[in-house]
Amino acid sequence: MDGVHDMGGMDGFGPVLPEPDEPVFHAPWEARVLGLRIAMAAHQLGSLDSWRHDLERLPPAEYLSTGYYERWLIRLTDLIAASGLASREEMATGKAASGERGAPPLTAELVPIALGTSGSYQRQTGAPPRFAPGQSVRARNIHPHGHTRLPRYVRGRQGRIEADHGAHVFPDSNAHGGGEAPQRLYTVSFPARELWGEGDHEVRLDLWESYLEPA
Protein backbone atom coordinates (compact mmCIF):
# COMPACT_ATOMS: atom_id res chain seq x y z
CA MET A 1 0.00 0.00 0.00
CA ASP A 2 1.09 3.56 -0.65
CA GLY A 3 0.97 4.59 3.00
CA VAL A 4 2.59 7.08 5.31
CA HIS A 5 4.78 4.23 6.63
CA ASP A 6 6.63 4.31 3.28
CA MET A 7 8.85 7.16 4.40
CA GLY A 8 11.90 7.03 2.18
CA GLY A 9 12.59 10.54 0.92
CA MET A 10 9.77 12.29 2.72
CA ASP A 11 10.28 15.86 3.89
CA GLY A 12 8.91 17.49 7.00
CA PHE A 13 10.02 15.20 9.82
CA GLY A 14 12.73 17.48 11.07
CA PRO A 15 16.24 16.58 12.19
CA VAL A 16 17.40 13.18 13.42
CA LEU A 17 17.82 13.42 17.17
CA PRO A 18 20.28 10.88 18.60
CA GLU A 19 19.87 10.46 22.34
CA PRO A 20 23.11 10.15 24.33
CA ASP A 21 23.23 7.11 26.63
CA GLU A 22 19.82 6.01 25.47
CA PRO A 23 18.26 3.28 27.64
CA VAL A 24 16.94 0.10 26.00
CA PHE A 25 13.44 1.09 27.14
CA HIS A 26 12.20 4.56 28.00
CA ALA A 27 9.49 3.32 30.37
CA PRO A 28 8.64 -0.01 31.97
CA TRP A 29 5.48 -0.36 29.85
CA GLU A 30 7.57 -0.41 26.67
CA ALA A 31 9.46 -3.42 27.97
CA ARG A 32 6.22 -5.17 28.89
CA VAL A 33 4.76 -4.54 25.41
CA LEU A 34 7.85 -6.08 23.85
CA GLY A 35 7.57 -9.07 26.16
CA LEU A 36 3.85 -9.47 25.56
CA ARG A 37 4.29 -9.32 21.81
CA ILE A 38 6.95 -12.01 21.81
CA ALA A 39 5.15 -14.20 24.36
CA MET A 40 1.86 -13.99 22.45
CA ALA A 41 3.63 -14.99 19.24
CA ALA A 42 3.70 -18.50 20.73
CA HIS A 43 -0.07 -18.54 20.15
CA GLN A 44 0.46 -18.42 16.38
CA LEU A 45 -1.21 -15.07 15.82
CA GLY A 46 0.05 -14.69 12.27
CA SER A 47 3.16 -14.05 10.23
CA LEU A 48 5.66 -11.26 10.69
CA ASP A 49 4.52 -10.02 7.28
CA SER A 50 0.90 -9.70 8.39
CA TRP A 51 2.10 -7.99 11.59
CA ARG A 52 4.00 -5.40 9.57
CA HIS A 53 0.90 -4.85 7.45
CA ASP A 54 -1.22 -4.46 10.59
CA LEU A 55 1.10 -1.67 11.70
CA GLU A 56 1.21 0.11 8.36
CA ARG A 57 -2.59 -0.03 8.03
CA LEU A 58 -3.07 2.11 11.12
CA PRO A 59 -4.94 5.25 10.12
CA PRO A 60 -2.25 7.67 8.92
CA ALA A 61 -2.79 10.32 11.59
CA GLU A 62 -2.58 7.63 14.25
CA TYR A 63 0.54 6.09 12.75
CA LEU A 64 2.27 9.47 12.82
CA SER A 65 1.15 10.51 16.30
CA THR A 66 2.04 7.34 18.18
CA GLY A 67 5.39 5.83 19.12
CA TYR A 68 6.81 2.46 18.13
CA TYR A 69 5.70 0.47 21.18
CA GLU A 70 2.35 2.23 21.34
CA ARG A 71 1.67 1.08 17.78
CA TRP A 72 2.62 -2.42 18.90
CA LEU A 73 0.24 -2.22 21.84
CA ILE A 74 -2.64 -1.11 19.62
CA ARG A 75 -2.09 -3.85 17.09
CA LEU A 76 -1.35 -6.57 19.60
CA THR A 77 -4.66 -5.76 21.28
CA ASP A 78 -6.37 -5.94 17.90
CA LEU A 79 -4.71 -9.27 17.05
CA ILE A 80 -5.75 -10.83 20.35
CA ALA A 81 -9.30 -9.57 19.95
CA ALA A 82 -9.47 -11.00 16.45
CA SER A 83 -8.10 -14.34 17.66
CA GLY A 84 -10.76 -14.62 20.34
CA LEU A 85 -8.15 -15.32 23.03
CA ALA A 86 -9.41 -12.31 24.98
CA SER A 87 -12.13 -9.77 24.36
CA ARG A 88 -11.62 -6.03 24.03
CA GLU A 89 -13.54 -5.53 27.22
CA GLU A 90 -11.32 -7.98 29.09
CA MET A 91 -8.21 -6.26 27.76
CA ALA A 92 -9.55 -2.81 28.66
CA THR A 93 -10.52 -3.78 32.21
CA GLY A 94 -7.69 -6.22 32.85
CA LYS A 95 -10.19 -8.74 34.22
CA ALA A 96 -10.87 -12.14 32.70
CA ALA A 97 -14.58 -12.71 32.10
CA SER A 98 -14.41 -16.48 32.55
CA GLY A 99 -12.56 -18.65 35.01
CA GLU A 100 -10.86 -20.80 32.40
CA ARG A 101 -7.13 -20.74 32.69
CA GLY A 102 -4.71 -22.30 30.22
CA ALA A 103 -1.02 -23.07 30.47
CA PRO A 104 1.20 -20.42 28.82
CA PRO A 105 3.04 -22.01 25.91
CA LEU A 106 6.11 -19.82 26.48
CA THR A 107 7.65 -20.34 29.90
CA ALA A 108 10.70 -18.56 31.28
CA GLU A 109 12.76 -21.69 30.69
CA LEU A 110 11.88 -21.71 27.01
CA VAL A 111 12.70 -18.03 26.44
CA PRO A 112 16.42 -18.50 25.58
CA ILE A 113 15.47 -21.12 23.01
CA ALA A 114 12.59 -19.05 21.62
CA LEU A 115 14.72 -15.96 21.22
CA GLY A 116 17.87 -17.71 20.04
CA THR A 117 16.35 -19.85 17.33
CA SER A 118 14.33 -18.88 14.33
CA GLY A 119 13.68 -20.28 10.93
CA SER A 120 15.14 -19.22 7.64
CA TYR A 121 13.05 -17.25 5.17
CA GLN A 122 14.92 -18.84 2.28
CA ARG A 123 13.14 -21.53 0.28
CA GLN A 124 14.16 -23.91 -2.47
CA THR A 125 12.02 -23.42 -5.55
CA GLY A 126 14.11 -24.91 -8.33
CA ALA A 127 13.18 -21.91 -10.48
CA PRO A 128 16.19 -20.40 -12.27
CA PRO A 129 16.92 -16.73 -11.49
CA ARG A 130 15.57 -14.29 -14.04
CA PHE A 131 18.32 -11.76 -13.36
CA ALA A 132 22.05 -12.02 -12.76
CA PRO A 133 24.44 -9.78 -10.83
CA GLY A 134 25.57 -6.84 -12.93
CA GLN A 135 22.36 -6.79 -14.95
CA SER A 136 20.37 -3.57 -15.39
CA VAL A 137 16.82 -3.73 -14.09
CA ARG A 138 13.96 -1.35 -13.50
CA ALA A 139 11.72 -1.46 -10.44
CA ARG A 140 8.18 -1.76 -11.76
CA ASN A 141 5.80 1.13 -11.32
CA ILE A 142 3.17 -0.86 -9.45
CA HIS A 143 0.97 0.37 -6.61
CA PRO A 144 -0.46 -2.63 -4.78
CA HIS A 145 -3.15 -1.76 -2.26
CA GLY A 146 -1.91 -4.53 0.02
CA HIS A 147 1.39 -5.13 1.78
CA THR A 148 4.51 -4.69 -0.28
CA ARG A 149 8.20 -4.23 0.39
CA LEU A 150 8.77 -2.24 -2.77
CA PRO A 151 9.11 1.37 -1.55
CA ARG A 152 7.59 4.07 -3.70
CA TYR A 153 10.86 5.90 -4.08
CA VAL A 154 12.38 3.20 -6.33
CA ARG A 155 9.34 2.48 -8.48
CA GLY A 156 10.02 3.18 -12.12
CA ARG A 157 13.72 3.76 -11.43
CA GLN A 158 16.62 1.92 -13.01
CA GLY A 159 19.17 -0.01 -10.98
CA ARG A 160 21.61 -2.86 -11.09
CA ILE A 161 21.51 -6.35 -9.61
CA GLU A 162 24.25 -6.63 -6.98
CA ALA A 163 23.49 -9.98 -5.34
CA ASP A 164 21.17 -12.97 -5.60
CA HIS A 165 19.92 -14.23 -2.21
CA GLY A 166 18.04 -17.23 -3.56
CA ALA A 167 14.27 -17.56 -3.16
CA HIS A 168 12.69 -15.98 -0.09
CA VAL A 169 9.16 -15.95 1.29
CA PHE A 170 7.22 -13.25 -0.63
CA PRO A 171 5.72 -10.76 1.85
CA ASP A 172 3.14 -9.39 -0.59
CA SER A 173 1.50 -12.83 -0.57
CA ASN A 174 2.35 -14.08 2.89
CA ALA A 175 0.99 -10.97 4.65
CA HIS A 176 -2.45 -11.69 3.23
CA GLY A 177 -2.61 -15.40 3.94
CA GLY A 178 -1.80 -16.15 0.33
CA GLY A 179 0.98 -18.55 1.19
CA GLU A 180 4.74 -18.11 1.13
CA ALA A 181 4.90 -18.02 -2.68
CA PRO A 182 8.72 -17.80 -2.56
CA GLN A 183 10.49 -15.70 -5.15
CA ARG A 184 14.06 -14.86 -5.95
CA LEU A 185 15.36 -11.98 -3.84
CA TYR A 186 18.05 -9.64 -5.17
CA THR A 187 20.05 -6.77 -3.80
CA VAL A 188 19.60 -3.92 -6.28
CA SER A 189 21.62 -0.68 -6.30
CA PHE A 190 20.33 2.70 -7.47
CA PRO A 191 22.32 5.90 -7.91
CA ALA A 192 20.87 8.79 -5.89
CA ARG A 193 20.61 10.85 -9.05
CA GLU A 194 18.31 8.23 -10.55
CA LEU A 195 16.12 8.24 -7.44
CA TRP A 196 16.05 11.90 -6.49
CA GLY A 197 17.40 13.79 -9.49
CA GLU A 198 20.44 14.77 -7.42
CA GLY A 199 22.94 13.41 -4.93
CA ASP A 200 26.12 11.37 -5.19
CA HIS A 201 25.35 8.40 -2.96
CA GLU A 202 23.99 4.99 -3.80
CA VAL A 203 20.99 3.22 -2.28
CA ARG A 204 20.69 -0.57 -2.12
CA LEU A 205 17.52 -2.50 -1.42
CA ASP A 206 16.52 -6.15 -1.38
CA LEU A 207 13.81 -6.59 -3.98
CA TRP A 208 11.83 -9.64 -5.02
CA GLU A 209 11.90 -10.80 -8.63
CA SER A 210 8.33 -9.76 -9.49
CA TYR A 211 9.16 -6.18 -8.44
CA LEU A 212 11.66 -6.00 -11.29
CA GLU A 213 11.76 -5.92 -15.06
CA PRO A 214 14.73 -5.88 -17.44
CA ALA A 215 15.98 -2.39 -18.27
Binding site: G14, P18, V24, L64, A96, R149, P151, W196, H201, D206
Partner: protein
Protein backbone atom coordinates in the same frame (compact mmCIF):
# COMPACT_ATOMS: atom_id res chain seq x y z
CA UNK B 1 23.45 19.32 17.37
CA UNK B 2 23.40 20.76 13.92
CA UNK B 3 20.08 21.46 12.27
CA UNK B 4 18.79 20.67 8.87
CA UNK B 5 18.25 24.29 8.00
CA UNK B 6 21.95 24.52 7.51
CA UNK B 7 21.88 21.87 4.80
CA UNK B 8 19.00 23.10 2.68
CA UNK B 9 17.66 26.50 1.89
CA UNK B 10 14.15 25.75 2.96
CA UNK B 11 13.56 25.94 6.60
CA UNK B 12 11.88 22.74 7.65
CA UNK B 13 14.10 22.74 10.69
CA UNK B 14 12.81 26.17 11.64
CA UNK B 15 9.44 24.58 12.16
CA UNK B 16 10.95 22.14 14.54
CA UNK B 17 12.83 24.76 16.39
CA UNK B 18 9.64 26.70 16.80
CA UNK B 19 7.91 23.65 18.18
CA UNK B 20 10.86 22.63 20.28
CA UNK B 21 10.90 26.07 21.78
CA UNK B 22 7.30 25.56 22.82
CA UNK B 23 6.11 28.68 21.02
CA UNK B 24 3.01 26.84 19.95
CA UNK B 25 2.00 25.20 23.16
CA UNK B 26 -1.15 23.61 21.82
CA UNK B 27 0.75 21.24 19.56
CA UNK B 28 2.56 18.26 20.90
CA UNK B 29 4.76 16.21 18.63
CA UNK B 30 6.69 14.37 21.25
CA UNK B 31 5.61 11.01 19.87
CA UNK B 32 7.65 11.58 16.77
CA UNK B 33 10.67 11.45 18.99
CA UNK B 34 9.41 8.47 20.95
CA UNK B 35 9.05 10.56 24.09
CA UNK B 36 6.22 11.29 26.47
CA UNK B 37 3.63 8.67 25.55
CA UNK B 38 0.08 9.30 26.72
CA UNK B 39 -0.32 8.54 30.39
CA UNK B 40 -2.89 5.87 29.65
CA UNK B 41 -0.54 3.70 27.59
CA UNK B 42 1.07 2.32 30.75
CA UNK B 43 -2.36 1.57 32.19
CA UNK B 44 -3.51 -0.12 29.00
CA UNK B 45 -0.38 -2.23 28.96
CA UNK B 46 -0.88 -3.21 32.58
CA UNK B 47 -4.51 -4.19 31.95
CA UNK B 48 -3.51 -6.22 28.92
CA UNK B 49 -0.82 -8.08 30.82
CA UNK B 50 -3.14 -8.70 33.76
CA UNK B 51 -5.82 -10.33 31.69
CA UNK B 52 -3.40 -12.38 29.60
CA UNK B 53 -1.77 -13.67 32.77
CA UNK B 54 -5.16 -14.32 34.40
CA UNK B 55 -6.22 -16.38 31.39
CA UNK B 56 -3.00 -18.35 31.39
CA UNK B 57 -1.96 -17.05 27.99
CA UNK B 58 1.36 -15.56 29.09
CA UNK B 59 3.73 -16.32 31.92
CA UNK B 60 4.95 -13.12 33.63
CA UNK B 61 8.27 -14.82 34.33
CA UNK B 62 8.66 -15.35 30.59
CA UNK B 63 8.10 -11.63 30.04
CA UNK B 64 10.77 -10.87 32.62
CA UNK B 65 13.15 -13.24 30.88
CA UNK B 66 12.50 -11.67 27.48
CA UNK B 67 13.05 -8.17 28.82
CA UNK B 68 16.16 -9.19 30.72
CA UNK B 69 17.54 -10.77 27.56
CA UNK B 70 17.30 -7.53 25.57
CA UNK B 71 18.32 -5.32 28.47
CA UNK B 72 21.48 -7.21 29.29
CA UNK B 73 22.42 -10.16 27.10
CA UNK B 74 21.51 -9.18 23.56
CA UNK B 75 22.76 -5.75 22.60
CA UNK B 76 25.49 -3.89 20.72
CA UNK B 77 28.19 -5.50 22.87
CA UNK B 78 27.49 -8.64 20.82
CA UNK B 79 28.11 -6.89 17.54
CA UNK B 80 31.17 -5.20 18.99
CA UNK B 81 32.75 -8.61 19.62
CA UNK B 82 32.06 -9.63 16.04
CA UNK B 83 33.62 -6.46 14.68
CA UNK B 84 36.64 -6.62 16.99
CA UNK B 85 37.35 -10.18 15.90
CA UNK B 86 37.01 -9.19 12.25
CA UNK B 87 39.57 -6.46 12.88
CA UNK B 88 41.91 -8.77 14.77
CA UNK B 89 41.59 -11.98 12.76
CA UNK B 90 41.85 -11.84 8.96
CA UNK B 91 40.45 -15.35 8.62
CA UNK B 92 37.39 -14.43 10.67
CA UNK B 93 36.96 -11.24 8.66
CA UNK B 94 36.96 -13.32 5.47
CA UNK B 95 34.36 -15.73 6.91
CA UNK B 96 32.22 -12.79 8.08
CA UNK B 97 32.24 -11.14 4.68
CA UNK B 98 31.55 -14.46 2.93
CA UNK B 99 28.73 -15.70 5.21
CA UNK B 100 27.90 -13.36 8.04
CA UNK B 101 25.07 -15.49 9.43
CA UNK B 102 27.43 -18.42 9.99
CA UNK B 103 30.34 -16.29 11.20
CA UNK B 104 28.13 -14.48 13.73
CA UNK B 105 26.68 -17.82 14.87
CA UNK B 106 30.21 -18.81 15.92
CA UNK B 107 29.58 -16.51 18.89
CA UNK B 108 26.15 -18.02 19.49
CA UNK B 109 24.45 -14.81 18.32
CA UNK B 110 21.41 -16.21 16.54
CA UNK B 111 17.67 -15.76 16.53
CA UNK B 112 14.91 -13.50 15.38
CA UNK B 113 15.81 -10.55 13.19
CA UNK B 114 19.18 -12.11 12.50
CA UNK B 115 18.20 -14.96 10.23
CA UNK B 116 20.04 -13.68 7.16
CA UNK B 117 23.01 -11.53 8.07
CA UNK B 118 25.23 -9.62 5.68
CA UNK B 119 28.31 -7.73 6.85
CA UNK B 120 29.37 -4.64 4.92
CA UNK B 121 32.74 -3.09 5.49
CA UNK B 122 33.53 0.61 5.71
CA UNK B 123 36.77 1.58 4.04
CA UNK B 124 38.62 4.73 3.08
CA UNK B 125 36.60 4.61 -0.16
CA UNK B 126 33.10 3.51 0.90
CA UNK B 127 30.92 4.32 3.89
CA UNK B 128 27.87 2.12 4.53
CA UNK B 129 24.74 3.29 6.36
CA UNK B 130 21.77 1.06 7.26
CA UNK B 131 18.12 2.08 7.48
CA UNK B 132 14.66 0.58 7.20
CA UNK B 133 12.41 3.09 5.46
CA UNK B 134 9.26 0.94 5.64
CA UNK B 135 9.35 -0.01 9.32
CA UNK B 136 12.33 -0.46 11.65
CA UNK B 137 14.09 -3.70 10.65
CA UNK B 138 17.30 -4.07 12.63
CA UNK B 139 19.75 -6.92 13.37
CA UNK B 140 18.62 -7.80 16.90
CA UNK B 141 21.05 -10.65 17.73
CA UNK B 142 24.08 -8.41 17.18
CA UNK B 143 22.73 -4.96 18.06
CA UNK B 144 19.75 -5.61 20.34
CA UNK B 145 16.66 -3.47 20.04
CA UNK B 146 16.85 -0.40 17.79
CA UNK B 147 17.35 3.05 19.33
CA UNK B 148 14.60 5.63 19.04
CA UNK B 149 16.45 7.63 16.40
CA UNK B 150 16.69 4.57 14.15
CA UNK B 151 12.91 4.13 14.43
CA UNK B 152 12.25 7.86 14.02
CA UNK B 153 10.37 9.13 11.02
CA UNK B 154 13.14 11.63 10.34
CA UNK B 155 15.79 8.93 9.99
CA UNK B 156 13.56 6.60 7.99
CA UNK B 157 12.73 9.47 5.64
CA UNK B 158 16.11 11.09 5.19
CA UNK B 159 18.79 8.39 5.29
CA UNK B 160 18.13 7.33 1.69
CA UNK B 161 17.64 10.90 0.49
CA UNK B 162 20.40 12.96 2.09
CA UNK B 163 22.73 10.65 4.02
CA UNK B 164 25.52 13.23 4.27
CA UNK B 165 23.19 15.65 6.01
CA UNK B 166 22.00 12.90 8.35
CA UNK B 167 25.56 11.85 9.14
CA UNK B 168 26.41 15.47 9.91
CA UNK B 169 23.66 15.43 12.56
CA UNK B 170 25.58 12.57 14.19
CA UNK B 171 28.74 14.64 13.98
CA UNK B 172 30.15 12.51 11.17
CA UNK B 173 31.61 14.43 8.24
CA UNK B 174 33.08 12.34 5.47
CA UNK B 175 35.40 13.53 2.75
CA UNK B 176 33.58 14.23 -0.51
CA UNK B 177 35.48 11.44 -2.23
CA UNK B 178 34.14 8.79 0.15
CA UNK B 179 31.24 7.04 -1.59
CA UNK B 180 28.15 6.58 0.56
CA UNK B 181 26.14 3.40 0.22
CA UNK B 182 22.80 3.29 2.04
CA UNK B 183 21.17 -0.09 2.71
CA UNK B 184 17.38 -0.03 2.98
CA UNK B 185 16.37 -3.19 4.88
CA UNK B 186 13.36 -4.19 2.79
CA UNK B 187 13.68 -7.98 3.21
CA UNK B 188 14.62 -10.34 6.05
CA UNK B 189 18.27 -9.76 5.23
CA UNK B 190 19.89 -7.71 7.99
CA UNK B 191 23.02 -5.62 7.61
CA UNK B 192 25.90 -5.18 10.06
CA UNK B 193 28.38 -2.43 9.27
CA UNK B 194 32.02 -3.20 10.05
CA UNK B 195 33.39 0.25 10.84
CA UNK B 196 36.93 1.21 9.89
CA UNK B 197 39.48 0.15 12.46
CA UNK B 198 40.76 3.32 14.11
CA UNK B 199 44.35 4.29 13.63
CA UNK B 200 46.67 3.70 16.57
CA UNK B 201 45.05 0.40 17.56
CA UNK B 202 47.74 -1.91 16.21
CA UNK B 203 48.80 -3.08 19.66
CA UNK B 204 45.32 -3.67 21.08
CA UNK B 205 43.89 -7.13 21.68
CA UNK B 206 40.36 -8.22 20.81
CA UNK B 207 38.89 -7.22 24.16
CA UNK B 208 40.39 -3.75 23.97
CA UNK B 209 39.20 -3.37 20.39
CA UNK B 210 35.67 -4.38 21.42
CA UNK B 211 35.47 -1.33 23.64
CA UNK B 212 36.02 0.93 20.62
CA UNK B 213 33.02 -0.38 18.66
CA UNK B 214 29.92 1.71 19.25
CA UNK B 215 26.39 0.79 18.33
CA UNK B 216 26.11 3.72 15.94
CA UNK B 217 29.32 2.68 14.17
CA UNK B 218 27.75 -0.70 13.37
CA UNK B 219 24.76 1.05 11.76
CA UNK B 220 27.06 3.40 9.90
CA UNK B 221 25.78 6.47 11.77
CA UNK B 222 29.04 6.79 13.66
CA UNK B 223 32.70 5.87 13.57
CA UNK B 224 34.55 3.55 15.89
CA UNK B 225 36.15 5.36 18.81
CA UNK B 226 39.77 6.40 18.76
CA UNK B 227 41.71 4.57 21.48
CA UNK B 228 42.19 7.70 23.57
CA UNK B 229 38.44 8.25 23.74
CA UNK B 230 37.43 4.68 24.59
Amino acid sequence: MKRRGRVRGYAVADEWQRYSAGMSAQHHHAHDHGQAPPADVALRTQALESVLVAKGLVDPAALDAIIETYETRVGPHNGARVVARAWADPDYRARLLADATAAIAEFGFTGRQGEHMVAVENTAMVHNLVVCTLCSCYPWPVLGLPPVWYKSFAYRARAVREPRAVLAEFGVTLADEVAIRVWDSTSEVRYLVIPQRPVGTEGLDEAALTALVTRDSMIGAGLALAPARA
